[in-house]
């Protein structure tokens, strides 16, 4: 298969996971699937994938979730940019250390999300907003391994 096709499929799977229904009680434990995939590609190939890709995927997530248009685009762009700044250092880290860094980035995403929702008047302040960040950080090592093997098998450069 063509590398670009495989790459698009990883994005599509991320979007499908975003659209999947999560149990109501566990809504705070939902990982940020799309961010996991974007961050991997930005760290692995920072000169090919960056803020533009993040912006596009954020827009898709907004449309999928019926939120404010531009909300996820904004947070994803900021995070992809921060990641692209630090990609050299990140590659040196151990995978769990990377996970911590990813959790920090995702909590930025959660904060901005919360600000926007709070501004609109339908969010109550709770520390649970950082739960998705922790879950995403814990998932990072595994998604990293999976996506790296995908990248190597299909020689995506």
């Amino acid at each position: 298969m063509k590398p670009i096709l495989v790459f698009s499929i990883t994005l599509l799977i991320a979007l499908m996971l975003e659209a999947m229904t999560f149990p109501e009680q566990l809504i705070w434990y939902r990982p940020e699937w799309a961010l996991l995939v974007i961050l991997y590609w930005v760290i692995a190939l920072p000169f090919r994938f960056g803020a533009g890709l993040a912006w596009f995927l954020g827009l898709m997530v907004d449309l999928l979730q019926g939120g404010i248009i531009g909300q996820h685009s904004l947070t994803y762009v900021v995070i992809a940019y921060a990641c692209a700044l630090f990609y050299k250092r990140l590659r040196m880290y151990h995978r769990w250390q990377q996970g911590v860094f990813v959790a920090a980035l995702v909590s930025m995403n959660q904060l901005v999300d919360f600000w926007i929702d709070h501004y609109l008047g339908h969010a109550e302040p709770t520390l649970m907003i950082f739960m998705p960040a922790i879950i995403t950080g814990l998932l990072w090592p595994w998604s990293f391994v999976v996506l790296r093997s995908v990248r190597r098998i299909y020689a995506i450069r």
């Binding site: 659209a19 229904t21 912006w55 898709m60 979730q65 019926g66 404010i68 248009i69 531009g70 909300q71």
Partner: protein
């Protein structure tokens, strides 16, 4: 650049609803994803429908036949009552009510946002759905349509913190506004003075004053009434009657055309 563009888009959307015209078409791009994600659930329902045992089907059939018989007998009474009602209304020279138009829809997803309670249904503006349309399930009022695409719509549930329904106490006729709390099993009745006759088990129906929800549909049942000294109004807890977050089939309702 993109950050500025995003912020600009957020403000355009919030302040001026700039995307309301093209949003249905943009949503069309992601509709295939939603359909694919919903496929396993569809297969599950299909198989549970088609792989049922003969015995189970016979039992179901008997049960449904009994239910039809019961409903028929009730319907006979209803027809007589309706005719009587029309006659009385004519006598009173009051406006006449016309039956509402109903479109059935299937729930295909729930919103993955912890701050809002919305569901996704499989009928869009191509089937006549429009923003502001009332949505019911078999047991009560479910919510209203807030966004439509060609083949899907989003429905804001009545239990969402930003949703309000004007209601009427079916026992006394007292009118108030029922507000969502963000908890799917709890709603509150606003601004009810301590002197109002209301008690546990009272049923609230839509009052129709908003001209959005047709009047007379059950919304919730009062769970508890607390009179806290020093508070201006009574604290009234209401449980929604609709199966919020669990119903699979819903009905889109057109408000009745009132003939004057």
């Amino acid at each position: 650049m993109l950050v500025v563009l995003s912020i600009f888009m957020i403000f355009a959307d919030i302040r001026y609803s700039a995307f309301s015209a093209i949003r249905p078409y943009l949503t069309l791009i992601v509709t295939p994803i939603q359909v694919v994600v919903n496929t396993p659930q569809k297969i599950f329902y299909w198989s549970s429908e088609h792989l049922a045992s003969r015995e189970g089907l016979v039992n179901d059939n008997n049960k449904l036949n009994a239910e039809v018989l019961m409903l028929r007998s009730q319907l006979q009474k209803l027809n007589a009552l309706r005719a009587e009602n029309v006659r009385l209304r004519e006598l009173l020279d009051a406006s006449q009510r016309v039956d509402e138009k109903i479109v059935m829809a299937e729930v295909i997803g729930f919103d993955q946002n912890a701050y809002s309670h919305k569901i996704l249904i499989d009928k869009g503006f191509s089937s006549g759905a429009y923003v502001g349309q009332a949505v019911l399930d078999a047991t009560g009022v479910l919510g209203q349509v807030v966004e439509t695409a060609a083949y899907s719509s989003r429905v804001l549930l009545i239990a969402d913190a930003s949703h309000f329904v004007p209601v009427q106490l079916s026992r006394t006729g007292f009118r108030s506004i029922l507000s969502g709390t963000g908890d799917l099993k709890k709603m509150t009745l606003l601004s009810v003075p301590h002197s109002v006759d209301i008690k546990k088990g009272d049923i609230l129906t839509t009052s129709g004053l908003d001209e959005r929800f047709p009047s007379g549909y059950p919304v919730g049942v009062v769970r508890s009434v607390a009179h806290v000294p020093g508070k201006a109004y009574a604290d009234i807890d209401v449980v929604p009657l609709a199966q919020l977050g669990r119903s699979r089939h819903v009905m889109l309702i057109d408000p009745p055309q009132v003939e004057r």
